[in-house]
């Protein structure tokens, strides 16, 4: 057989066809959406002018507003994010343990935990906040619980994966000594999961700082309430102040998290 003339192909015919099918579906979906979505072209043409108007109203940023209302609201936002992250752990750790196949070996447990994790992740934090605002009334408690419930899915899933990657050697050694179930968890799994645990929690805290900044738009406390109020009153210079404060806090949170993670890992 003459191998020189053989025509090499990277993909089989079936692979090629299925790839083209995906592209085709995407193009059809895109064209269909563009045609049927209700976009008013005049608004799009008007947009640069409107944006310029908005930024010109924002420009002399109202720094005097910071000590009046923004500072307390920012502290509240940070508290919501931190406390929410801590409360998440109460629910996320048991679910992560249930979801890890090397700890609980039962399909039922996996399905139950996965159901909770997925539904926590599917519902957006603002929707969780709406739910908790209608339960507990407007205020900080709704914000904390919204952040906590939203984070369960994220923390639980990643922590479960970290537990599954544990080296089983030391676990078996502990089992061989006749250690109890609790001490296997605490002395076998926990030290190995510790770095992953801290980095997951810090990562989620960083996300939660961003998310808690907008929860106030639906009445769940924090800087979002100040932002919403000044927007409803068209005080764009105060809006700019709140946005600047959010920007600074988000950047600071990211710097803090990056530095701590560098030390830990």
């Amino acid at each position: 057989m003459n191998t020189i003339d053989h025509h090499w192909q990277r993909f089989t015919l079936k692979q090629k066809l299925s790839r083209y099918a995906v592209y085709l579906v995407l193009v059809i979906a895109f064209v269909q959406s563009i045609q049927s979505v209700e976009v008013i072209p005049e608004f799009l043409l008007d947009a640069p002018e409107q944006m310029a108007d908005m930024f010109s109203r924002m420009w002399p940023i109202d720094f005097a507003y910071y000590p009046v209302a923004v500072h307390d609201a920012m502290v509240e936002t940070l508290n919501i994010a931190t406390l929410g992250t801590l409360i998440t752990l109460i629910f996320a750790i048991p679910l992560a343990l249930m979801n890890a196949s090397n700890i609980v070996n039962s399909a039922w447990c996996h399905w139950i935990s996965r159901f909770f994790l997925v539904s926590s992740r599917s519902v957006n934090s603002l929707v969780w906040a709406l739910l908790f605002v209608s339960i507990f009334g407007p205020g900080v408690i709704a914000g904390v619980l919204a952040i906590a419930f939203r984070s369960i899915g994220f923390v639980g899933k990643l922590l479960g994966e970290a537990i599954e990657e544990v080296n089983m050697g030391s676990i078996e050694a502990l089992k061989a000594t006749g250690a109890s179930w609790m001490s296997i968890l605490l002395k076998g799994y926990w030290p190995q999961v510790l770095p992953a645990f801290f980095s997951i929690v810090l990562f989620r805290w960083d996300i939660n700082v961003r998310e808690s900044a907008v929860l106030g738009l639906v009445g769940a406390g924090g800087i979002g309430v100040v932002l919403d109020d000044s927007m409803n009153l068209f005080q764009w210079d105060r809006v700019a102040m709140s946005l600047l404060a959010i920007f600074v806090i988000v950047i600071l949170a990211e710097i803090v998290v990056v530095n701590i993670r560098k030390r830990l890992i």
């Binding site: 995906v22 409107q50 957006n124 709406l130 739910l131 339960i135 510790l194 920007f247």
Partner: protein, 264 residues
């Protein structure tokens, strides 16, 4: 027999880690402080639980009678997600390439990286508010918001993926005398394509989630329907909308798993 009995002065293998203990103590102090600072109390929580059972009672059975309203919101959310994902991925392809430090000189990559970081800093809802102000209520504001959010997220990941490629293939293609476009198409893209597909399907998922949320501030989609249902205390309709949203997101995850397995 001294070797066997020497266990008296052996080090405890499970010794206390003082650093971690200190962190836990700090956390407990913080929890006590923040509960006081924010005025959270058990009575408040307990009172809320009564409302919770009331709310849940009003949620069942979910009310699907306003089917047409639900469907129009759902379709608008889907359209927002599809358009914004495709536009966002298309823009990110170029921005990601320009932001990769091994492909571009630093005077191009630094400004592009700053732009990407700026897109990522603000929560989509805040961007949505600004766009609603500038282009008015409706789907357009949602689309623009999610395009910005997608660029902030996947352009960064694209750039990181391109920075991790092996430069040997790039050199091999360059040695054949290929131009810039051919180098990108035949040496860079094959190395990163499957990761790009992974990021893109993830972004499609997250745009699907966010497209059901931007409506809360008036940027079109199912979120607006949800928000007004909340404000009118139609909790049975709220339950129906939430069920539809969860079903939509699970369907989206199912689809993106299929796409990922095709491109593996």
């Amino acid at each position: 027999m001294a070797g066997i009995n020497s266990s008296q002065n052996r080090e405890n293998p499970f010794k206390q880690n003082w650093f971690v203990t200190a962190i836990w103590l700090l956390v407990i102090c913080y929890v006590v402080y923040s509960f006081n600072a924010m005025g959270l109390s058990w009575e408040r929580f307990n009172e809320g639980l009564g409302h919770a059972s009331n709310l849940l009672g009003r949620m069942v059975p979910p009310n699907f009678s306003r089917w047409s309203l639900l469907m129009s919101g759902l379709i608008e959310s889907l359209e927002i997600a599809v358009i914004s994902s495709i536009c966002g991925i298309f823009i990110s392809l170029f921005l990601g390439l320009f932001a990769a430090r091994n492909m571009m000189p630093s005077w191009i990559s630094t400004p592009v990286r700053t732009l990407i970081a700026l897109c990522r800093t603000f929560h989509p809802v805040i961007i949505a508010i600004l766009f609603v102000k500038s282009v008015g209520f409706g789907a357009l504001a949602g689309i623009l918001t999610l395009v910005v959010a997608s660029v902030g997220f996947i352009a960064k990941l694209f750039a990181e993926a391109i920075e991790e490629i092996s430069l040997k293939q790039v050199e091999a293609i360059r040695a054949t005398g290929a131009g810039f476009t051919s180098i990108i198409l035949f040496s860079v893209m094959p190395q990163v394509f499957s990761r790009f597909i992974g990021f893109s399907t993830y972004q499609l998922d997250s745009n699907l989630r966010n497209s059901t949320m931007v409506g809360i501030v008036g940027a079109g989609g199912l979120g607006g329907t949800l928000f007004s249902a909340f404000q009118r205390f139609d909790y049975d309709f709220v339950a129906a909308i939430l069920i539809i949203i969860i079903a939509l997101i699970m369907f989206g995850e199912f689809l993106s798993n299929i796409v990922r397995s095709i491109f593996r």
